[in-house]
Every structure is written in C-alpha cells, then in structure tokens.
C-alpha cells in the first residue's frame, strides 16, 4: 500500500468530504407506504447505487468508497412500531452478525448466481454491476488499466487471481453495508482467500512482500466508510476476521496469508478488520509470538479462540462436526458457523448480579445451600423471561445478503452472561462472612446494599477490599461460585427451543451490558457501589485487587466452557511498558499458551497506558490515532463517549 492512500483515507480523511446525503426526493421513492418491504429495500439499493459517484484515489488498488451518506431507513418509526406489535425486532431490524459464503460467490461470479435469483435479487445484482461498470469507466479515464482489467472480470464473473478475489470481496462487503445489513463479518478469510494467493505465488506473480502491499491496500477498504456504519459506538461494526484453525484430528492450519494478515494489521494499526486467531494445543510457539507482536502495538488484537474447547463444545450443542471445525466469530466473540449459520448470537443478556441481589432478600435462609437454590430459581426465572419474550422474529428483507447464504441450517439464539465475576464474588463473600465465619448477618449486608453502604463503611471496606475475589485473594472460593452459577445458566437454557426451532446458548460475554446493566443495579455484596460499572465480558471486577495475570488466568479458565459457549473472552490489560524489552514477546506468548492449555475458551489482551489515555481525554486532538479495545471490538479512543473511555482507564492493568 502506498503511504498516500493511508494518509488520504486514515489521516486526513479527505474522502469524507466527497460525501453527500441522499436527497429527500430519492428517499420518498423508496419509503412510499404502498410499497412492500422487499420493494423498498431493493429500490433503496438501486437508488443509492445510482447516486454513488465513482471515486478512485490515484495510488489505490482496491476500489469502492461510499459517497452517499445519511441514507434514511426504509421504514418510518411509526411503521416499525406497527411491526413490533406482532414481531420481535432484533436491534435495528436488519440482518446482522452473520458470516456469509463469500467463497462460493468468488468462485462463480454474480451473473452465474443471478440465474437462480429472485426478481429482487436480480435487480440488486444489476445495480451493483452497473456501479462497478461506472468505476471501470472512471479507472479507464485515469489510465488505470489494472483496475479496468479487474472490473471487467469481477463481479460479473468468478475471480481468477488474488487481486480479483480481494476486489470482488470488497464489492460484496460494500453491497451488504449498502443494503442495510450490518456487523458484516469477514469469516475465515485466510482459508477461503489463500488458494488465490497460493496459485499466484506459484506463478511468480507475488512475493510475500508484494502480496502484503496489496493486502494492506485491501485492509484500508474496511476503514473507508466505517464511520457511517451503525453501531453502539464508533468502531462497533463487526468486521471480524478469523485466522488459523484446526480440524477434527487436531491438525493445525496457518498459511502464508494468515501470517500476512497479522503483519498487515500490525503495520497499519487500524481498528478494522478485527483480528481473531484460532489456536489449539498444536499451534506452534512461533505463531503465538507473531501474534504477540500484534498485541504489542496496542490494538487489542488478536483475540484468541481455543479450538480444543470450542469445536467439541459446538458439537455438543448440536452443530455437525464438519460445521463446527469451520467456526468463526460474529461481531465480537460469539462463536458462529459461516455460510450456513443463521444464529442470532446476541439476542439477550442475563444480569447475574441482579439475580443475586434479588435472591439475597427473597427469604430467610438457614444455610448457604438454601440461598443457592434461590439463586438457581432466579437464574431460571430470568432465562424463562428472556426466552419467552422473543417470538415471531422479523427482519427487514435482505435480497443481496441472501445471495451469499448457503443455507439456514442453524437458528440458535445466544444470551450473554453479564457480571459473572461480580455475582461470584458477592456469593463467595456472603458464604464466607454470613454462613462460614458468621461475622456479619445477612440483614446487615442487605441493609448496606440498600443504602449503598452509606451507613456501614466498615462492611464496605471488608466486602470491597478484603473479601474473596476471582483472581485475587481467596480466588478459589469465588471461582467455585462462578462455576456453579454458569452451570445454572446453562441448565436454565438446556432443552429450550426458540421460535425458529433452534436452541438457546449461554455465554460469558457482556457486550455493552457491562454499562447498561450497571446503570440500574444497586450496590452488590462484593462491595461494588450502586451504578459502578461491571467488568467487560468474562473479567475480574474493576475494583478487585488481583494477584496478577497468572492467578486471573487460573480463575477464568476453570469453568465448564463447553456448556457456556456463546462466547465472551477473559480480558487481560497489560501496561504497554511491559513490551519494552524483546524477551517480553515470548513471555507473554507463554502466558497465552498456558491459558489455552488450561482449557480457557477465549482470551483477549490489551496493551494500554492509562497515562496516555488520560492525556488523550484532555487533548484529544493530539491522539487521533490512539486505539483501544472496548468489549469485542476496538475503537479510536477519542471517538468514544466518556463513559466508555473511563471504563477503559479503570480496568485492571498489570505491570512488571
């Protein structure tokens, strides 16, 4: 990639100035009340394509950038309200969070696909081909014969080489976003793309170096329009890429393209694509070390996924072995099956600490076991409430996306498990002080929770700073509780069917619920004050004094993940200073291998410097490129709401 391309799209972002909103006149053409939903979505696609202006940077290789912005929804708020009367609408109501069959389309081309397409699908295919033809004309005007040649072949026909395959992918991905589908993941990119690169390298068309250059140009394309993609915060856009992986026999695959993707991400330091790495006990040390080089630059990539746990876990849940080995991750960390999966992996969230708080005051307990029965009943009731509230799910039509599906074999729903460490620490504290040592009465704890510890500072100190914590002192006591409540979660969902005939999956992720659940959550028995945020995903409580990363790994890799496998990683935050000397790479890599060997399911490491983050809050203009990891994605720090910024600053940070 040429530096000028990076500067244009990333530093100065001049391309954003070329955008203009879609005029009201055009909007009215696809929002007329007498139009069917299919007609609206299709017509909007056609209109936006027609209004798009081909813009090519003179030095770029991979083209297509959005110039039409502020594209209004196909449906009015009133219409959505009407739809919601009879249907469950997931998030924005458009299809999201799937990993599609790019591979098949790259191998066939859109014209071939069109032969079996519906009327609407044929129209969107024509619209995107027309836009690509206008790009081709623009390229011809600029004398860019390389682009002309590529666009003569794709998207009409199959990709014949690495360059065409990358450009074709860009066209497909661009079209998904344009249609309104979101959290459009990238899937096992190194597996379906490598045959093109391998063949080209055999022909002598690329060296690793020149392939990397093209790959970097391609990586930029994920960042051209990402500010107009929908998400809870800037950066929450689901462009997840998964690298590496093993088969059922435990053979591990990691090819030249896998390696180049890690290197490209490290070189570019961009928040997209979001890099995931599948590993297993047979993954060579060198791959961990290469991946740690990426961790070192501070993007929060890669996220590690343990095949030794995930594949058998998915099979246990009912996924066919040949599909389980193909698993990838959704927007953040939810394990999903590419091509044939239709799971909604983030449809709800269980608020563990709220369940514990309710249980504590439900009756007078003679024993801790009685209390745990009440916790179990609470978890079951909460799960029942969530599962029974989701019926008749409706999505806006997605003619283009449907072209990239190769089935709807799996229709499972996933529920996040939020605040596990807070709930586990709370229960361990109650067990220790109320039932074992009889130091405090349960009434005293409940009263303190009710008045946010204001009248009982002594209790606050003990619960917050001296009580058992996962990863801290007396970690085993808390960890045991986390094992019990996660099993209860799995039990509560076991055997339930959802409205699409699929199962319900329990998970350890939080998504944004670590803030949302905390807003209405009173104080908790672990000494957390009312409204204080919970930990992101499967991580220690923010105020817990942990013993260090080894103890944290031990605490957070002890659970039966095969039963709580919706996804949600342990997050370790390292001070960036630990990477100061070269030997730290192999040492951090050894720590990751320990986590994998212990049977942890998912791990995410950050290299952060709290001082830098605080400075960035004060003078944001000086830190425009500073990247941090949020909950399952990375973002430019200064573009986040302060609430999210503060949480990053207050997370555990290990120094040496």
């Amino acid at each position: 990639m040429k530096k000028s391309v990076y500067d244009y799209y990333i530093i100065t972002r001049e391309h954003r100035a070329l955008r203009s909103p879609l005029s009201a006149e055009f909007v009215s053409e696809y929002t007329k009340t007498d139009l069917s939903p299919d007609e609206r979505v299709c017509r909007r696609f056609e209109i936006v394509c027609k209004n798009e202006q081909p813009k090519i940077h003179p030095d770029e290789k991979i083209v297509l950038v959005r110039t039409v912005c502020d594209v209004k929804d196909c449906f009015s708020e009133e219409e959505w309200a009407e739809i919601k009367k009879d249907h469950y609408i997931h998030e924005l109501g458009y299809v999201s969070n799937l990993s599609l069959d790019y591979e098949r389309v790259l191998q066939t081309g859109l014209l071939s696909i069109k032969e079996n397409a519906t009327e609407y699908q044929a129209r969107v295919i024509d619209a995107i081909i027309d836009l690509c033809d206008r790009y081709k004309e623009e390229a011809a005007k600029m004398g860019r014969n390389d682009i002309v040649e590529v666009l003569t072949q794709v998207p009409r026909y199959k990709a014949r080489n690495f360059y065409e395959a990358l450009q074709f992918f860009r066209i497909l991905h661009y079209s998904l976003w344009l249609e309104g589908d979101y959290h459009n993941t990238v899937g096992r990119f190194d597996m379906y793309m490598y045959p093109y690169l391998e063949a080209d390298m055999k022909k002598g068309l690329y060296t690793e170096e020149s392939a990397l250059e093209l790959l970097e140009d391609f990586f930029i394309s994920f960042n051209k329009d990402s500010d107009i993609y929908p998400g809870v915060q800037q950066g929450d856009n689901g462009q997840s890429m998964v690298l590496g992986g093993s088969d059922l026999e435990g053979n591990y695959y990691f090819n030249t393209l896998s390696k180049l993707c890690l290197v490209a991400s490290r070189n570019l330091k961009l928040i997209d694509p979001k890099i995931n790495l599948r590993v297993c006990k047979n993954t060579p040390v060198e791959i961990y070390e290469l991946a740690t080089e990426l961790t070192k630059v501070g993007l929060g990539f890669p996220q590690y996924n343990n095949d030794d746990v995930v594949i058998p876990g998915l099979i246990k849940m009912g996924y066919a072995p040949e599909d389980a080995i193909e698993y990838t991750v959704a927007a953040c960390w939810e394990f999903i099956i590419p091509k044939v999966g239709n799971d909604i992996a983030n449809i709800g969230a269980l608020n563990f600490p709220q369940v514990v708080n309710n249980a504590l005051r439900s009756e007078n307990f003679d024993s801790f076991d009685d209390l745990m029965l009440s916790v179990k009943a609470g978890i079951t009731a909460e799960c029942d409430k969530i599962t029974s509230s989701i019926n008749n799910v409706w999505f806006a039509p997605s003619p283009f996306l449907d072209l990239l599906r190769s089935g709807r074999k799996y229709n499972n729903f996933g529920i996040h498990g939020c605040g596990i460490s807070c709930a586990a620490d709370s229960l361990a504290a109650v067990k220790k002080y109320v039932f074992d040592e009889k130091k405090f009465s349960l009434e005293r704890i409940i009263k303190a929770i009710d008045d946010n510890f204001e009248s009982d500072p002594e209790l606050l100190h003990v619960l917050r700073h001296e009580a058992p914590k996962m990863g801290g002192d007396d970690s085993d006591a808390s960890t045991e509780m986390s094992c019990i409540i996660t099993e209860m979660f799995a039990d509560a969902l076991e055997g339930k069917k959802n409205c699409l005939g699929g199962i319900w999956r329990a998970g350890t992720g939080t998504a944004m619920f670590y803030l949302w659940h905390a807003r209405n959550l009173g104080a908790t028995a672990d000494g957390r004050l009312a409204h204080e945020a919970l930990g992101t995903n499967f991580s220690p409580t923010l105020t817990a004094k942990v013993n260090g990363p080894v103890s944290v790994i031990e605490a957070f890799s002890s659970q039966n993940f095969k039963r709580i496998l919706n996804g949600g990683p342990l997050t370790l935050e390292f001070a960036s200073s630990i990477f100061a000397d070269d030997s730290s790479i192999s040492k951090v890599a050894a720590l990751i291998r320990y986590f994998i060997a212990r049977g942890g399911h998912q791990l995410q490491l950050n290299a952060v410097n709290a001082d830098v983050l605080k400075s960035a809050q004060k003078t944001p203009e000086e830190f425009r490129q500073l990247v941090v990891r949020i909950w399952g994605w990375s973002a430019y720090f200064i573009e986040l709401d302060k609430e999210f910024q503060d949480h990053v600053i207050s997370r555990q940070e290990y120094t040496v």
Partner: protein, 263 residues
C-alpha cells in the same frame, strides 16, 4: 499472625506474579521484608524495616476521617488508624507473617506454569538473607520442583551467604559501590563482607550475575564501574536503570527520601 504449628515463620511484603525482569523466563517474585542496608536511593523503602508497618497513601486520600475515628481491632492497636475501614483501601499494613509451609504451598501451585515457560521463583527484598532460616526452609520445600533464584545485596555473614546460595539455581548479587568509604556514606554499611561474599559466589560455580544499580552521581561514575568490573571478573554484570519514581513510596510509610537526583 504466627502459625502455632509452623516451624519457621517469615515476614514478606509482596508476591509479584509475572515478573519479567527478575531472572530467566516468567517468574513469581517473593519480597522478604527487612534490610540491613540503607541505600539512600532505595526504591523499595517498604522493604527496609524488619517489622510490619503502616502505609497510608495520602495522595489519593479524601480526608473522610473514617480511619482515625478509633476502632477495636486487635491489629490496629497503637497505629492511630483503623486498617479495616478505608473505602479506597489506602490504609494498609505492609508486611505479612507467613509460615514456610503456607508460602511453599502457595508457590508450588504456580510451578507447572513457571516450569512450562522456563521461569521460576525469585526471592528478593529487602534483603532475603536477613531471614535466612525461613528462606532456607521455603527453598528446601521447593527445591527440585522449580527453578530458584535469589536477589541479594550480599551483605550477610559469609557462612549464611554460603548456606543460602548453595540452595539456589541462580544468584543475582548487587555490587553497588567499590569504594569502602563511599559505600558507608551512601548505604550505611562497610562493603568488606560484600566483597568477600562476591569472591565466594565467583568460586561457587553457581550460575550468577552481578547487578549494578545505575544511580546518577553515585554509582554510575566510570571510576566506580571500572572497579566493579574488576571485582566481577568473568561473572556477567547487569546494569539496572534508576527508577525516577522511586521517591513516591516514601511518603506513604512516613519516611523521607534522601536521594535527590542532580544534573
């Protein structure tokens, strides 16, 4: 608290996981409390006193006054502060008595991990040799199960020095100042026994490295470093960068930081 059944009990002030700079591989470092030297640049002042002591992190204190209201805890007697009330945990007792069995058991839990990544356990301080009986007792319980290193100032009677290093797989020993008078001036002690122990270490055949803290204006002179190289002979030397943030911890324990870096 002394455990009645334990043979030997010691005082430690921290156990640090994932130490990357205290020897080979990833290590867990145990800090033993108490040191006979008084190096004016000391960056672990909480390791100096051989007794538990009070630490109050005043810079984050909200002055709520809770810790000074009086309490009935046995362990708070005579401190004029309560250890069990601060909402931000700024009032702490530094130093925990632990018996050798308990400590060894705690450390053994991490051995699989430490062995797997070519690391081990390091005993540091303070001056670990000050609690040599406790130290030897713990090391004997770990011996052969995990790699053991020690970080010592070398300021200890030679028979004790010899006894301890023979139990270790690796020894880091400080060589701070070669000149006797300057050594007395800046560390409070004569270095004769240190030099004697350096010779013992060199001839012991135990893998070792001498550590030189690079204190601006005191140890980092070419003259001193040349002398130290002479003393070290064939034994490798590592030079430790001065930590400019060292002074911050003194205030917490009510001590004064005497070293001022001058340009």
């Amino acid at each position: 608290m002394h455990d009645s059944y334990s043979k030997v009990s010691g005082l430690i002030f921290d156990i640090k996981e994932f130490a990357l700079h205290d020897g080979e591989g990833i290590r867990t470092t145990v800090f033993l409390k108490g040191c006979p030297l008084r190096c004016i640049w000391c960056h672990n002042p909480e390791g100096l006193s051989p007794k538990p002591e009070l630490s109050v992190k005043k810079n984050r204190c909200r002055n709520c006054g809770l810790c000074q209201k009086g309490c009935s805890h046995e362990e708070c007697k005579g401190l004029n502060r309560c250890l069990h009330i601060c909402p931000d945990n700024l009032v702490e007792r530094i130093g925990t008595y632990i018996d050798s069995d308990t400590l060894a058991r705690k450390l053994l839990k991490q051995c699989d991990f430490l062995n797997a990544c070519g690391g081990g356990i390091t005993f540091s301080g303070g001056e670990p040799l000050l609690q040599h009986e406790f130290l030897c007792d713990v090391i004997k319980k770990l011996k052969g199960k995990v790699h053991i290193a020690i970080e010592t100032s070398g300021f200890a009677p030679s028979d004790i020095f010899k006894k301890v290093i023979q139990l270790c797989d690796f020894v880091y020993m400080d060589l701070k100042i070669a000149d006797k008078e300057k050594h007395i001036k800046f560390t409070g002690a004569d270095n004769s026994v240190i030099l004697q122990n350096a010779e013992i270490l060199k001839s012991s055949g135990i893998p070792s490295t001498f550590s030189v803290p690079m204190i601006p204006g005191i140890t980092d002179s070419e003259e001193n470093l040349a002398e130290i190289r002479k003393i070290a002979g064939d034994t490798p030397i590592r030079y430790l960068k001065y930590n400019p943030l060292a002074g911050a911890k003194y205030d917490n324990i009510g001590k004064e930081f005497l070293y001022k870096e001058s340009k």
